[in-house]
Subunit: 224 residues, 2 copies
């Protein structure tokens, strides 16, 4: 916007610069955006405020990112991309029982959602996230959910073979089993993402213990 | 603001008035706010936009509500107050087994969270909700969570008596049982509120079926 730095800014509170973190400029901008989006809100945060918090002028910021939307997209993706990478590894690992792989995914996903100083999952519910700009985030999240679906289906099917229950095996083959699988997937995925709301209320709860308990709860929901 | 109606409004998109609903003015304002807060965002919605969407002038709006914050507070409270009233009834109903009462509360709570044309639970994660103005909402939500805690404790204790498991009964008496109860309460409450995220992605899923499945899942988490 070409405002000379140090000029008087009317009607706009000065944003305090973050302490020197030694981060690269782009990482610094992401850290500043994470803090401001979760504490002040996305709509209420200007690109200028992000730049100031990151200790640079707004004009310099555009060397590193195209704007607020790119920062939000990258923050959102950072909450699902590592879990999806891990989920792909787990899907390929046929040697490990499905229920164990499901437990590992749940635990890692909860730890990721509780990681970092800011609860980035809170950004999922922004109305802005429905926009085309965030299609990549939504696609990664959908693929992650599909990995849960596959691991849940494999866990149930292993459990059915083990118990050789004719009634359950019968149901597992029909159309109602597909509905049942969707329902279990929604419940497990909802339990995992529900951690975002728990973490918001109880930010001090140790993530590792909570991740492990959530993974156990997911297996109980699946019924294995 | 005293702007004459019909005057040219510069730089502000005109909000289309809601179809005539026959609602009282205050209810009309709440419906307009619910729609705009969840689709455009709370920070991005002006009181003027709410008034216009409700079919009245901004000055008239102030006869009915003090502003945007009051509308948000009332919308948030509408997502927890009916469940808390029901929870109190259930807590007083000693004749019904605790697990059944827990199931009933989960079902009713999920149906409430999925009710209405707008996903009001999405507003829980707004940074603004941390402000003093929304203490009443947070208090009702905390009391609702405490009702879950009591019903979970009673369900577990009934289940322990029934099975007379010495190991479980021993754990249920100690300090670790308190931590365990907190953990189960967080998991169940997270599962229930996680419905907000599921409902956002799958708005077409029938609430009744989903509520019932979520209640079953909650009992599995509790282990009864």
């Amino acid at each position: 916007m070409g405002t000379s730095s140090g000029g008087r800014r009317v009607g706009r509170p000065r944003v305090v610069q973050r302490p020197d973190s030694g981060l690269e400029p782009r990482a610094e901008l992401l850290a500043a955006a994470a803090e401001l989006f979760t504490t002040h809100g996305y709509a209420a945060t200007t690109t200028r405020a992000v730049a100031e918090r990151a200790g640079m002028r707004q004009a310099s910021m555009y060397h590193y990112v195209s704007g607020k939307e790119e920062l939000l997209a990258e923050l959102l993706e950072s909450t699902v991309t590592p879990s999806l990478a891990y989920a792909r590894e787990l899907l390929a690992d046929d040697a490990t029982p499905a229920a164990e792989r499901l437990r590992a995914l749940c635990r890692a996903d909860v730890e990721l959602l509780c990681a970092g100083p800011h609860n980035l999952g809170a950004l999922y519910l922004l109305p802005e996230v429905r926009a085309e700009r965030f299609a990549a985030f939504r696609a990664v999240r959908a693929e992650l959910k599909d990995a849960y679906r596959q691991l849940i289906a494999a866990s149930v099917s292993a459990s059915v073979s083990a118990t050789a229950s004719a009634a359950t095996a019968g149901a597992a083959g029909g159309a109602s089993a597909k509905g049942e699988l969707e329902l279990r997937t929604d419940l497990v995925f909802g339990l995992i993402e529900g951690v975002i709301l728990v973490h918001r209320s109880e930010p001090e709860r140790p993530a590792r213990e909570f991740a492990s308990a959530t993974a156990d709860a997911a297996l109980r929901i699946v019924g294995v």
